[in-house]
Chain length 269, copies 2
Amino acid sequence: MRVRLDLAYDGTEFSGWAAQRDRRTVQGELERALATLSRAEPRLTVAGRTDAGVHARGQVAHVDLQPEVAADPLVHRRLDGLLPPDVRVQRVAAAADGFDARFSALWRRYRYRVADGPADPLRRRDTLSWPRPLALDRLQQAGAGLVGEHDFAAYCRRREGATTVRGVLALDWQRESDGVLAMTVTADAFCHSMVRSLVGAMVAVGEGRREPDWPGGLLSRAERATDVPVAPPHGLCLEAVGYPADGELALRQHVTRQLRVLAGDEPAA
Amino acid sequence: MRVRLDLAYDGTEFSGWAAQRDRRTVQGELERALATLSRAEPRLTVAGRTDAGVHARGQVAHVDLQPEVAADPLVHRRLDGLLPPDVRVQRVAAAADGFDARFSALWRRYRYRVADGPADPLRRRDTLSWPRPLALDRLQQAGAGLVGEHDFAAYCRRREGATTVRGVLALDWQRESDGVLAMTVTADAFCHSMVRSLVGAMVAVGEGRREPDWPGGLLSRAERATDVPVAPPHGLCLEAVGYPADGELALRQHVTRQLRVLAGDEPAA
């Protein structure tokens, strides 16, 4: 029986999502807890494989469990009880027919927090502290030039035979009530370190070292732009993953798989 | 030369504000940094002596430094450079004539965060996670019964000869955009563990174990109410301290000192 898990984690002490031998990872901790719960070795499939140090508030994964384990009304509480305090299960629910956390996803939404004023020590784990002031209007102008379907090769780590075309549905900067600058970006998928590279380019504009049309102008390049700094991971958080209505899940999964096969590619963060 | 310091800290790893031998405290870390900077042994005076585990975003302290140290334009940066990442100096400024961080203060404002829904691991250091739902309207009703000048003996740790009369100027609960319940309370001063005791009583009302008039009803008691649970420290944060206009500082300090002497009392959190 397929179960959908909605997850949140503080990525500070994790070597990212993906299980690795001898490293503490989110997938590793969750699969260990699920193994204890189910006395089997369930494998998780996730919507966004976050890097080391990246956080999540709206991560989605699925796992196939024995019906008696999945249907246990205490499964959520038991699972949380087996997990360390830096990973929490927000919701456990039977997955709709055809649901695949990775291939059914329509979009992923990330957020990046940068403090260009006094640092708040209580948010130092999820906020980049920037030593110089950043101009909100310049950040917004830079962001506007990145929306749309483009080849993001300049912002991606190259993988042989994989496309770097992605569709950015929205990208916005705002100053929050606590004075912190927050960027929210939504795309069908992201390639490796793409959000952090976009932030690195836009911050250079925000502090006046680059012109607002520079980040968008890099989209014409066919390969990684070495002059784009990659922002540190701890400011980044996966906020949400969007799925189609239940009746369209199987179709979406099929289409995504076919596209990925054709492109030799897979979604990542 | 007297300097005003505006401070923020993550209280998680501190045994509170006040310096103690062999314990890591906020005052201890700051005085060590100030000693390195000034090659003297400056002593800090603070507006709100927070307990172990309590945080601050708007703490205020003063310290008397040699004029050449205080007037160094890099003093703020140097001080931050000498401090660990869980204490930050938000602002360093010459204090107005007659300024005393403790005795000039007109009010202190604290905030307490309680999550009664899914826990956010990124906020687990400054948010109490509550396992049952809390009713906002009941919390608000309970809070309304606590505003005003009262004898808060039921909510205070008793000290011989000290008054427990305090003036609560405002107390409000609201549900934040992240779903967390936040209480904000402003008073001329607080006695020891008073905010956490008030929260403990109101949470009992919020989850339906007590009636909304119970917390206010306890104000008639002459001593500590042992049936009031003290909420854990990590949900609590000192948000701001209010001072009069510069011209009235000396007068305020004088009045407060006289009142404290008469009452045999001192402000604390």
